[in-house]
Protein backbone atom coordinates (compact mmCIF):
# COMPACT_ATOMS: atom_id res chain seq x y z
CA UNK A 1 0.00 0.00 0.00
CA UNK A 2 1.26 3.44 -0.89
CA UNK A 3 0.23 7.10 -0.82
CA UNK A 4 2.13 9.78 -2.70
CA UNK A 5 1.91 13.50 -3.35
CA UNK A 6 3.71 16.01 -5.54
CA UNK A 7 3.92 19.78 -5.14
CA UNK A 8 4.95 21.92 -8.11
CA UNK A 9 6.88 24.68 -6.33
CA UNK A 10 6.18 27.33 -8.97
CA UNK A 11 2.46 26.53 -8.86
CA UNK A 12 2.48 26.56 -5.04
CA UNK A 13 4.20 29.93 -5.07
CA UNK A 14 1.68 31.35 -7.53
CA UNK A 15 -1.50 29.82 -6.13
CA UNK A 16 -0.94 29.89 -2.36
CA UNK A 17 0.19 32.53 0.09
CA UNK A 18 1.44 30.64 3.12
CA UNK A 19 2.23 33.93 4.87
CA UNK A 20 -1.43 34.88 4.93
CA UNK A 21 -2.75 35.39 8.50
CA UNK A 22 -3.99 32.19 10.22
CA UNK A 23 -3.01 30.07 7.18
CA UNK A 24 -0.25 28.03 8.85
CA UNK A 25 -2.22 27.66 12.11
CA UNK A 26 -5.04 25.97 10.21
CA UNK A 27 -2.75 23.35 8.66
CA UNK A 28 0.02 22.68 11.15
CA UNK A 29 0.34 21.59 14.78
CA UNK A 30 2.24 23.74 17.30
CA UNK A 31 5.24 21.42 17.01
CA UNK A 32 5.27 21.79 13.21
CA UNK A 33 4.85 25.58 13.48
CA UNK A 34 7.93 25.70 15.70
CA UNK A 35 9.83 23.61 13.16
CA UNK A 36 8.80 26.02 10.36
CA UNK A 37 9.84 29.05 12.46
CA UNK A 38 13.26 27.54 13.20
CA UNK A 39 14.12 26.34 9.71
CA UNK A 40 16.22 28.08 7.06
CA UNK A 41 13.70 28.01 4.24
CA UNK A 42 10.10 28.26 5.49
CA UNK A 43 8.63 28.11 1.95
CA UNK A 44 10.23 24.72 1.25
CA UNK A 45 9.45 23.42 4.73
CA UNK A 46 5.78 24.38 4.49
CA UNK A 47 5.37 22.50 1.19
CA UNK A 48 7.47 19.60 2.34
CA UNK A 49 5.27 19.11 5.41
CA UNK A 50 2.16 19.62 3.31
CA UNK A 51 3.17 16.91 0.81
CA UNK A 52 3.99 14.52 3.67
CA UNK A 53 0.54 15.05 5.17
CA UNK A 54 -1.16 14.52 1.80
CA UNK A 55 0.81 11.34 1.10
CA UNK A 56 -0.01 9.98 4.57
CA UNK A 57 -3.70 10.89 4.14
CA UNK A 58 -3.79 8.92 0.87
CA UNK A 59 -2.24 5.89 2.56
CA UNK A 60 -4.65 6.22 5.49
CA UNK A 61 -7.71 6.33 3.22
CA UNK A 62 -6.47 3.26 1.28
CA UNK A 63 -6.54 1.41 4.58
CA UNK A 64 -9.64 3.16 5.97
CA UNK A 65 -11.89 4.09 3.03
CA UNK A 66 -13.23 7.56 3.82
CA UNK A 67 -12.89 11.18 2.79
CA UNK A 68 -12.28 14.24 4.97
CA UNK A 69 -10.15 17.39 5.22
CA UNK A 70 -7.96 17.35 8.30
CA UNK A 71 -4.36 18.22 7.39
CA UNK A 72 -3.63 19.37 10.95
CA UNK A 73 -4.61 15.94 12.29
CA UNK A 74 -1.68 14.35 10.46
CA UNK A 75 1.41 15.30 12.45
CA UNK A 76 4.86 15.07 10.88
CA UNK A 77 8.01 14.13 12.70
CA UNK A 78 11.09 14.79 10.58
CA UNK A 79 14.64 13.57 10.51
CA UNK A 80 16.63 14.20 7.31
CA UNK A 81 14.44 13.31 4.36
CA UNK A 82 12.69 10.53 6.22
CA UNK A 83 9.75 11.27 8.39
CA UNK A 84 7.02 9.66 10.42
CA UNK A 85 3.44 10.88 10.13
CA UNK A 86 0.87 10.08 12.79
CA UNK A 87 -2.90 10.43 12.73
CA UNK A 88 -4.78 9.13 15.79
CA UNK A 89 -3.41 5.57 16.15
CA UNK A 90 -2.25 5.42 12.53
CA UNK A 91 1.46 5.76 11.81
CA UNK A 92 3.52 5.55 8.60
CA UNK A 93 6.94 6.27 7.11
CA UNK A 94 7.12 9.13 4.64
CA UNK A 95 10.13 9.73 2.41
CA UNK A 96 10.55 13.06 0.65
CA UNK A 97 12.55 14.20 -2.34
CA UNK A 98 13.14 17.92 -2.68
CA UNK A 99 14.09 18.93 -6.23
CA UNK A 100 14.50 22.44 -7.62
CA UNK A 101 11.04 22.46 -9.19
CA UNK A 102 9.01 20.06 -7.08
CA UNK A 103 8.67 18.22 -3.79
CA UNK A 104 7.63 14.58 -3.82
CA UNK A 105 6.54 12.52 -0.82
CA UNK A 106 5.78 8.83 -0.59
CA UNK A 107 4.10 7.17 2.41
CA UNK A 108 4.34 3.48 3.27
CA UNK A 109 3.97 1.28 6.32
CA UNK A 110 7.40 -0.21 5.76
CA UNK A 111 10.69 1.60 5.41
CA UNK A 112 11.53 1.19 1.71
CA UNK A 113 13.02 3.04 -1.23
CA UNK A 114 10.83 5.57 -3.04
CA UNK A 115 9.32 4.15 -6.21
CA UNK A 116 7.17 7.05 -7.42
CA UNK A 117 7.64 7.86 -11.09
CA UNK A 118 7.47 11.50 -12.13
CA UNK A 119 5.91 12.79 -15.34
CA UNK A 120 6.33 16.32 -16.68
CA UNK A 121 3.02 17.70 -17.85
CA UNK A 122 4.35 21.01 -19.13
CA UNK A 123 2.69 22.18 -22.29
CA UNK A 124 -0.06 19.58 -22.00
CA UNK A 125 -3.66 20.70 -21.63
CA UNK A 126 -4.58 20.87 -17.95
CA UNK A 127 -7.78 18.99 -18.68
CA UNK A 128 -5.85 15.93 -19.87
CA UNK A 129 -3.29 15.82 -17.02
CA UNK A 130 -5.00 13.05 -15.08
CA UNK A 131 -5.56 11.01 -18.28
CA UNK A 132 -1.85 11.22 -19.20
CA UNK A 133 -0.96 10.10 -15.70
CA UNK A 134 -3.39 7.17 -15.67
CA UNK A 135 -2.15 6.05 -19.09
CA UNK A 136 1.48 6.03 -17.87
CA UNK A 137 0.46 4.08 -14.77
CA UNK A 138 -1.34 1.42 -16.83
CA UNK A 139 1.64 1.07 -19.20
CA UNK A 140 3.97 0.60 -16.23
CA UNK A 141 1.66 -2.04 -14.73
CA UNK A 142 1.35 -3.88 -18.02
CA UNK A 143 5.18 -4.06 -18.25
CA UNK A 144 5.47 -5.15 -14.63
CA UNK A 145 2.94 -7.97 -15.00
CA UNK A 146 3.81 -8.76 -18.63
CA UNK A 147 0.20 -8.51 -19.65
CA UNK A 148 -1.28 -6.30 -22.33
CA UNK A 149 -2.57 -2.92 -21.23
CA UNK A 150 -6.18 -3.86 -21.96
CA UNK A 151 -6.13 -6.13 -18.91
CA UNK A 152 -5.84 -3.13 -16.59
CA UNK A 153 -8.63 -0.79 -15.69
CA UNK A 154 -8.19 2.36 -13.61
CA UNK A 155 -11.00 3.15 -11.17
CA UNK A 156 -11.82 5.43 -8.27
CA UNK A 157 -14.01 4.48 -5.32
CA UNK A 158 -16.86 6.62 -3.99
CA UNK A 159 -14.24 8.23 -1.71
CA UNK A 160 -11.98 9.04 -4.66
CA UNK A 161 -9.45 6.34 -3.76
CA UNK A 162 -7.71 4.99 -6.89
CA UNK A 163 -7.14 1.31 -7.68
CA UNK A 164 -6.33 -0.62 -10.82
CA UNK A 165 -8.41 -3.67 -11.59
CA UNK A 166 -6.64 -6.55 -13.34
CA UNK A 167 -8.73 -9.65 -14.07
CA UNK A 168 -10.80 -8.98 -10.93
CA UNK A 169 -7.68 -8.48 -8.78
CA UNK A 170 -7.40 -5.05 -7.18
CA UNK A 171 -3.99 -3.39 -7.32
CA UNK A 172 -3.46 -0.53 -4.89
CA UNK A 173 -1.92 2.56 -6.44
CA UNK A 174 -1.50 6.25 -5.72
CA UNK A 175 -1.47 9.17 -8.14
CA UNK A 176 -0.98 12.89 -7.70
CA UNK A 177 -0.66 15.88 -9.98
CA UNK A 178 -0.02 19.53 -9.34
CA UNK A 179 0.92 22.25 -11.80
CA UNK A 180 3.39 20.85 -14.34
CA UNK A 181 4.12 17.58 -12.54
CA UNK A 182 2.39 14.28 -12.10
CA UNK A 183 3.44 11.17 -10.24
CA UNK A 184 2.25 7.64 -9.67
CA UNK A 185 3.31 4.83 -7.34
CA UNK A 186 2.45 1.14 -7.16
Amino acid sequence: MVGNDIVDLEEANRMSNWERPRYLEKLFTSKELQFIRDCENPFLTVWRLWSMKEAAYKLYTQQNPSRFYNPKGFECDISDLNGIVKFKDFECNVKTQIASKYILSEARFIDSEMTSKIIELKGKLRKSHSDILKEALLIQLSKLHQLSKENFKFQKSEFGIPTVLCNSVKIQVSISHHGCFGTYAI
Binding site: V7, S16, R22, Y23, K26, L27, E54, Y69, N70, K72
Partner: protein, 83 residues
Protein backbone atom coordinates in the same frame (compact mmCIF):
# COMPACT_ATOMS: atom_id res chain seq x y z
CA UNK B 1 -29.86 35.25 4.77
CA UNK B 2 -31.61 33.08 2.16
CA UNK B 3 -29.92 30.05 0.61
CA UNK B 4 -29.63 31.91 -2.70
CA UNK B 5 -27.88 34.83 -1.01
CA UNK B 6 -25.54 32.43 0.75
CA UNK B 7 -24.68 30.58 -2.48
CA UNK B 8 -24.00 33.90 -4.22
CA UNK B 9 -21.57 34.90 -1.47
CA UNK B 10 -19.94 31.47 -1.53
CA UNK B 11 -19.51 31.57 -5.31
CA UNK B 12 -17.61 34.86 -5.05
CA UNK B 13 -15.31 33.30 -2.42
CA UNK B 14 -14.66 30.10 -4.36
CA UNK B 15 -14.20 31.71 -7.82
CA UNK B 16 -10.43 32.50 -7.59
CA UNK B 17 -9.56 28.86 -6.81
CA UNK B 18 -11.76 27.10 -9.37
CA UNK B 19 -10.00 25.11 -12.11
CA UNK B 20 -13.10 23.79 -13.86
CA UNK B 21 -15.12 26.77 -15.05
CA UNK B 22 -17.89 24.66 -16.56
CA UNK B 23 -18.62 22.93 -13.24
CA UNK B 24 -18.51 26.35 -11.59
CA UNK B 25 -21.17 27.74 -13.96
CA UNK B 26 -23.43 24.83 -13.05
CA UNK B 27 -22.74 25.03 -9.31
CA UNK B 28 -25.39 23.55 -7.03
CA UNK B 29 -25.50 22.54 -3.36
CA UNK B 30 -24.13 19.13 -4.38
CA UNK B 31 -21.04 20.55 -6.09
CA UNK B 32 -17.82 19.13 -4.61
CA UNK B 33 -14.93 21.58 -4.26
CA UNK B 34 -12.20 19.11 -5.19
CA UNK B 35 -13.91 16.50 -7.41
CA UNK B 36 -16.11 18.91 -9.40
CA UNK B 37 -14.46 22.33 -9.24
CA UNK B 38 -10.92 20.83 -9.19
CA UNK B 39 -9.90 23.17 -6.38
CA UNK B 40 -6.44 22.19 -5.19
CA UNK B 41 -6.53 20.77 -1.67
CA UNK B 42 -3.95 23.36 -0.57
CA UNK B 43 -6.42 26.08 -1.63
CA UNK B 44 -9.27 24.60 0.39
CA UNK B 45 -7.75 26.30 3.41
CA UNK B 46 -7.90 29.63 1.54
CA UNK B 47 -11.61 29.11 0.97
CA UNK B 48 -12.00 28.36 4.68
CA UNK B 49 -10.10 31.53 5.66
CA UNK B 50 -12.10 33.61 3.16
CA UNK B 51 -15.35 32.22 4.64
CA UNK B 52 -14.15 33.17 8.14
CA UNK B 53 -13.41 36.72 6.99
CA UNK B 54 -16.59 37.20 4.95
CA UNK B 55 -18.98 35.94 7.66
CA UNK B 56 -16.89 36.99 10.64
CA UNK B 57 -16.87 33.48 12.09
CA UNK B 58 -14.12 31.04 13.12
CA UNK B 59 -14.02 27.45 11.91
CA UNK B 60 -12.53 24.73 14.09
CA UNK B 61 -10.74 21.61 12.91
CA UNK B 62 -13.98 19.58 13.23
CA UNK B 63 -15.74 22.05 10.90
CA UNK B 64 -12.91 21.95 8.37
CA UNK B 65 -13.00 18.17 8.30
CA UNK B 66 -16.41 18.21 6.53
CA UNK B 67 -15.78 21.19 4.23
CA UNK B 68 -15.72 19.24 0.99
CA UNK B 69 -18.78 20.51 -0.84
CA UNK B 70 -21.12 23.49 -1.12
CA UNK B 71 -23.81 21.85 1.02
CA UNK B 72 -21.42 21.21 3.93
CA UNK B 73 -20.04 24.75 3.71
CA UNK B 74 -23.59 26.19 3.83
CA UNK B 75 -24.52 24.05 6.82
CA UNK B 76 -21.40 25.03 8.76
CA UNK B 77 -21.82 28.75 8.00
CA UNK B 78 -25.50 28.70 8.99
CA UNK B 79 -24.77 26.82 12.21
CA UNK B 80 -22.02 29.30 13.17
CA UNK B 81 -24.17 32.33 12.33
CA UNK B 82 -27.04 31.04 14.49
CA UNK B 83 -24.79 30.25 17.45
Amino acid sequence: MTNDELITKLKAIIAPYVQDEKAFENLTEDTDFINDLKVNSANLVDIILDIEDEFNIRLENEDMEKMLDVKAAMLIINTKLEA
